[in-house]
Symmetry: C2
Subunit: 604 residues, 2 copies
């Protein structure tokens, strides 16, 4: 069948374009830069990409849509964008709730304290201009001046640097600042320029960026943004599957994240009145999937058992080979990955928390859609990856949402009423991860939930659409808008999530012959981990029952680790040595994995 082109207009955003008849409205929206939510990667199972066709003709609703949309919705043109294809020019309304919400990002983390020993060093030199009696080529003149004036020997000058060199040296009157990495000149800047490094913690959901002075090691600016790749699916597996199913050569997912990092770098530079050309080295840490998608490495094998990475070693890639627009000769360094689901961000977190030097028994977790857990015994590290899922990000939870304004982030059951706090003090619109965890703990402590997770009787428990739910904020309290509840189904999702994390902890303890009570410290890293009430996490059994003073929430340790790797060659080597020594345990092949998991899903 011949592909036709139709004109599709998305409202109220006012974005429009030509869309082929074999492209779903979800794909069309993403192509036009509209961040429609898609948790399932376009398979019609998450029902988050709801849109309304206001005028024009689209394909008929699929079975999945007829099952999950109400007859009223169907009658009013509501569709799942991933299931609908244009059959003529269309006007489409995108409801706010179908858009990826802006969201808090954790970029704080402490200033990194390490003696700078950066991979790139700056040298200011002066050259004599060429003449009929001194016909040396520009590049050789520069490299010789560097050697004579600063005692530094270089073997090569980056090709892109050479492409701009001759007019620049002349316009700067034969004075310049050279950025040298190993034996290569990677940048030539005007005399006495800023010499910057960029550290990025590339999360599945969020990207944190730090601009660092490579000379002093000081962090000059920090900012967090959403990962726009989220339009390719909210969790790693959905995203990998979507990319694997793309026609080969489709680099859309990579482009999205590269453009986001480019914008982030430009924004960070603008904060300190610098330019991206001054960024002469970049470090990105992320899970293995984010790492592979950024570097455009193959991911098909990463999404199928036995889930092996294409590359696990550290990489030094020219930023231009990734598509980033920093100093044209700059390198992007990525620390090693450990396994298919334990990436360089885990290594960075362990580095930032100084795990190889710790005495005693320490547990370190980075909680997210995928949770990495390390058990460290006198510096020896064993790690597992737990598929904790996106429940704590608010996904698959009836009234769940991300940590955005209006999310209930803390709550308490007092007698029969609920006290709560929302992000930004806004009227409540849903529950984010820390609120969900509190709710579960409070219901268990009040005896409303039993160990098995069954929701018992309580004045606030009711039945709706065939399932029991606990009303946190009622319709009356919301002036007639739908109540905010936690359902029996939500509880089951949370049991799976927290069970996965606890299983990881237990398998690590079993494999090293240690007991819970021997754990001297629990380090909780990551944005979600920093916001949770630890006692709630202990109450529901996500974390082991230890005195609360043994727990330390350390914020974005992966971002801190990225800055260490950026500014210190010593830390970079340490990360590599540590990665080689980490013992990776594949959870699903651990003995009694299934029994351990079933037990761990119990509450308390």
């Amino acid at each position: 069948m011949k592909t036709k082109q139709y004109h599709v207009e998305f409202e109220p955003i006012g974005r429009r374009g030509e869309c082929p008849s074999d492209e779903s409205l979800l794909e069309a929206a993403h192509r036009l830069g509209i961040e429609l939510v898609s948790l399932c990667g376009g398979r019609g199972t998450c029902h988050r990409c709801k849109i309304q066709v206001l005028s024009g003709k689209a394909s008929s609703p699929t079975a999945s849509e007829q099952e999950h949309l109400t007859p009223e919705e169907l009658a009013n043109g509501y569709r799942l964008a991933c299931q609908a294809y244009p059959l003529g020019d269309c006007t489409v309304h995108v409801p706010a709730e179908s858009l990826t919400a802006p969201q808090r990002t954790q970029v704080e983390g402490q200033q990194v304290k390490v003696t700078p020993n950066p991979p790139v060093r700056a040298y200011n030199i002066e050259m004599s201009p060429p003449s009929l009696s001194d016909l040396r080529a520009d590049a050789e003149r520069m490299v010789q001046a560097l050697n004579q004036q600063r005692g530094v020997s270089c073997r090569s000058v980056d090709t892109e640097v050479l492409r701009g060199l001759s007019p620049l040296l002349r316009s700067w009157d034969w004075k310049a600042q050279l950025s040298v990495r190993g034996a290569e000149v990677v940048a030539v800047l005007p005399p006495a320029s800023a010499q910057l490094g960029l550290a990025i913690d590339l999360g599945t959901t969020k990207i944190a960026g730090y601009l660092v002075d490579l000379g002093s090691g000081e962090t000059l600016a920090a900012q967090g943004i959403m990962n726009p790749q989220i339009s390719y699916g909210e969790d790693v597996i959905a995203r990998l599957s979507r990319v694997s199913r793309s026609p080969s050569g489709d680099t859309g997912a990579q482009k999205l994240v590269v453009e986001a990092i480019d914008r982030l770098a430009a924004d960070l530079c603008a904060m300190i009145e610098a330019r991206p050309e001054n960024i002469v080295e970049a470090v990105v840490v992320g899970n293995t999937a984010m790492h592979h998608l950024l570097l455009r490495l193959p991911v098909d094998q990463l999404g199928r058992s036995p889930f092996v990475p294409a590359v696990s070693g550290p990489m030094d890639t020219k930023v231009r080979d990734v598509g980033l627009h920093l100093a044209p000769g700059a390198y992007l360094h990525t620390p090693p990955n450990i396994a298919g689901f334990v990436g360089g961000d885990h290594v960075a977190m362990l580095l930032a928390t100084d795990m190889p030097r710790r005495n005693g028994l320490v547990l370190a977790l980075d909680i997210g859609t995928n949770t990495e857990v390390a058990l460290v015994r006198n510096g020896e590290i064993a790690s597992v990856s737990c598929a904790s899922g996106p429940a704590f990000e608010g996904a698959h939870i009836k009234d769940g949402m991300r940590a955005a304004p209006g999310a209930i982030e803390r709550l308490r059951l007092v007698d029969n009423s609920i006290e709560y706090q929302t992000i930004g003090g806004q009227p409540p619109v849903g529950l984010c991860g820390s609120g969900i965890l509190d709710a579960m703990a409070q219901l268990y402590l009040a005896g409303v939930l039993d160990k098995s997770g069954r929701l018992g009787d309580h004045p606030r428990v009711r039945s709706r659409a065939g399932q029991r739910e606990f009303v946190l904020v009622s319709e009356e309290e919301r002036d007639g808008r739908p109540a905010i509840c936690i359902t029996q189904g939500d509880i089951r999702e949370l049991q799976l999530a927290k069970g996965a994390i606890r299983t990881g902890i237990n398998v690590l303890l079993e494999s090293t012959g240690c007991s819970e009570q021997d754990i001297e410290e629990v380090v909780i890293a990551g944005a979600f981990g920093s916001y949770i009430d630890v006692s709630s996490a202990v109450t529901v059994g996500m974390l082991p029952p230890l005195p609360l003073d043994r727990f330390h929430q350390v914020g974005n340790a992966a971002g801190t680790g990225a800055r260490l790797v950026l500014t210190s060659m010593g830390k970079r080597s340490e990360a590599q040595a540590m990665a080689r020594r980490i013992q990776y345990i594949e959870l699903t092949t651990a003995p009694q994995f299934h029994d351990t998991f079933i037990k761990a899903t119990q509450i308390g």
Copy 2:
């Protein structure tokens, strides 16, 4: 003034496109891939880009056109394409004589004889597939197998190679052939693949390509093509000036030559049923301007006194950073340049003729638009560059042409008649370089030309358009078509050309304190040098008067040198060591340069 777009159609080629009103018809033609001749780089001085506007409106003829086109031509819409701009939709006729002619290219040269010691080596390995009990990443699995099975240690795998690796290893059932350069894997091919190298002699006018088996060193295929960059100007200075005047970021000149090399590589591969992906290393030799244009290095400073290169050292650049489509991780190696007008092709020629190892006094020349001359005394080399100009390529000569079918390549004055031979035995249409040289020598020997170059009386000498000319082929002999003549003006051009070359030779002799008669051998390299009658060159005084058995015409020695550098790391080092030792003499700063030059323009 606002730029408008007009539709311009070029006949009889049938190429058409939208052309902005501020783009000359020459630029428009080049952009559309029409190889209109332009010797002057679009300055309106060579009058070679003649076209006819058949319909539509163009800008008014300029002073240059009114001076050089006849009133009839102007009345019939003839224009110089570089001077004419569209003022509306146009139809334009391109006469055949305004198109770059196909032309013989010299690719013969002897088979290279050297023990292969290539920069890239092939290793076949087998890997065990990943499993839940062996979760190593694909890249690490491969590098470890290489180390265990072949004892080769690699530190890195090229990023582009990694981007294709995972599906390929699986489709080849975990068997592969690795191409290793230094400590880097630059290509991964199916088991037992061809391992090819590409050597290119990149001339201003012609490109010669050689496909070489890197394992055996054998040349598998060779082919010559025109350098399409000729549409940017026929000589180096015109081309540099045109590129310098282009808006920054205009990489059209580079793209033309890169696409030509890509096509040449594909054609060479097709001859032996291989694919460009099998080419794991490339070497290009060329003059400094061609080198810089290929690598997209700055050329502005190369076209202005003191004419310094951006880079003179050897370079190893990823072929993808140049835009070539060979094995994606392959490198392009370029041997060192010596000066602004003495490039890596000169180094390659000296290497191929084994100059560093020669005893006694040897003179080596590569004659072209720019002629490089080296004087070698017991292996010590001094070199100069002579601006011999394009007269021997047929440019600036009334009936001159390149060495294409119908060109008179040899001639003799016998009594009062002319005997001649044309390329391809076709009816004569003009004179190529070797024919021009013979004509000059024959006229001098017959006493028609005196030492000063004045054309005396002879039955075949006549006056036309205010200047004297010697009729080589008369109107009658051409069935009424215009006679083929050599004019007094042509003789003056040739005196400048041959004088430039002889000046270079004389300055080298003076600077080393040697005399002509001490020269034991004269090596003449290059396409033109291979076709000339050496005795004619000696007669007119282009070459010193030595016994003819001291002269050796060696063909495309630069191409031979390129193959040596491609297949032997020993020869590659030798080229670099030699380049560092070459004493470059700037001709125009030599003592008595002007007197020497005036004397050298005399005939005999």
